[in-house]
C-alpha cells in the first residue's frame, strides 16, 4: 500500500495518542499515568506541526507538556506514595464506564463518517508571528484584543486564587 510521508507520520502520531491515552486512564501507578499523558501531549504538538501551525505547537509543548504535566508531577510527589499501586476498581464500574465510552465513540464516529465535509481548496497564507501578533492586538475585524485582555485577568485571578488556597494558615 503506497503511503505518502505525511500519512505515515499521521499514522504514527495517532497510534501514539490512542495507545498512550488508553494507558493513562487504565494504569495502576500514578507516575506512569503522568508520563503517558506527557507522551500524548507531545504527539498532539506533532500533529499541530503537521498542520502547519508551528506557533500553536510550540505553545502546546511549553504550556501543556512543560507546564501542566510538571505541575501534576509535583502534586503527585507532594500528596501520595509514588510507588503505591491503585486498588482494583469494581468490575461493574469498569463495564458501565466502558459501555458509555464505547457507545459515545460509536455514535460520534458514525455521525462524522456520514457527513460530507467540503474541503476548501484555498491554501492558507504562511502564518508567521507578525500575523499572530497583529491579530491578537487588533481592534477591528477578526481581532482578538478582548479575549486577550480577559485571559490576562483570568490568569491573574487564577494565580491569586491558587496562592490563597494553597498557602498554610498561620495559627495565631
Amino acid at each position: 500500500m503506497e503511503m505518502t510521508n505525511s500519512q505515515i507520520m499521521f499514522l504514527i502520531f495517532s497510534a501514539i495518542i490512542v495507545i498512550f491515552s488508553i494507558l493513562t486512564v487504565t494504569s495502576r501507578r500514578i507516575l506512569r499515568a503522568a508520563t503517558y499523558l506527557l507522551f500524548v501531549l507531545i504527539s498532539t504538538a506533532g500533529l499541530y506541526f503537521m498542520l502547519n501551525f508551528q506557533f500553536l505547537a510550540a505553545v502546546q509543548i511549553t504550556l501543556y507538556a512543560g507546564g501542566i504535566v510538571v505541575l501534576i508531577i509535583f502534586s503527585i510527589l507532594l500528596t501520595s506514595h509514588i510507588s503505591q499501586k491503585f486498588e482494583r476498581i469494581q468490575i461493574s464500574k469498569i463495564i458501565f464506564s466502558a459501555i458509555a465510552a464505547i457507545a459515545g465513540i460509536i455514535l460520534t464516529v458514525t455521525t462524522i463518517l456520514n457527513y460530507e465535509f467540503k474541503a476548501n481548496k484555498v491554501v492558507l497564507q504562511n502564518i508567521d508571528m507578525k500575523v499572530i501578533g497583529r491579530s491578537l492586538l487588533n481592534y477591528g475585524d477578526n481581532g482578538y484584543v478582548l479575549p486577550f485582555e480577559v485571559i490576562s485577568i483570568l490568569l491573574l485571578a487564577a494565580m491569586i486564587g491558587a496562592i490563597v488556597i494553597a498557602k498554610k494558615k498561620i495559627k495565631s
Binding site: 495518542i17 486512564v25 500528596t79 491503585f86 458509555a100 492558507l124 502564518i127 485571559i151
Partner: protein, 105 residues
C-alpha cells in the same frame, strides 16, 4: 498535504481521545488522575478546532486562536485544581474521592 489525510481522520482521533478521557473521568478515584482525564478531554477539543480551521476555513485563524485560549484556560484551571487538591490533602491526608465526604448530607 491536505488531500492526503481526510478531515474525518482527525475528527475520529479527537473523538476517541475525548471518550477515553470520559472513561478515565468516570473510572478513576484519585483526584489527580481525574484532573489528567479532564486535560485529555480539553486537548481533544483543541485538535478538533485546529483541524476544522485548517480544512474548512483556511483563510482565517479563528480555530487557531480558540485553541490557544483553550490551552491558557486549561493551564489556569489546572493550577487552581491542584491548589484545592493540596488543601484537601492537608485536611484529610488522602485524595481518594470516596474518602472526602465530610460535606455529605
Amino acid at each position: 498535504m491536505n488531500v492526503d489525510i481526510p478531515l474525518n481522520y482527525f475528527l475520529i482521533l479527537s473523538s476517541v481521545m475525548f471518550f477515553v478521557g470520559i472513561y478515565g473521568f468516570l473510572t478513576r478515584r484519585n483526584l489527580i488522575t481525574i484532573l489528567m482525564s479532564v486535560e485529555l478531554i480539553l486537548n481533544s477539543t483543541c485538535i478538533n478546532f485546529v483541524a476544522f480551521n485548517r480544512y474548512l476555513y483556511p483563510d482565517n485563524l479563528h480555530g487557531h486562536f480558540f485553541a490557544l485560549f483553550i490551552i491558557a484556560v486549561a493551564a489556569a484551571e489546572a493550577a487552581v485544581a491542584i491548589a484545592i487538591i493540596i488543601n484537601i490533602y492537608r485536611h484529610f491526608t488522602t485524595i481518594n474521592v470516596e474518602d472526602v465526604d465530610e460535606m455529605k448530607y
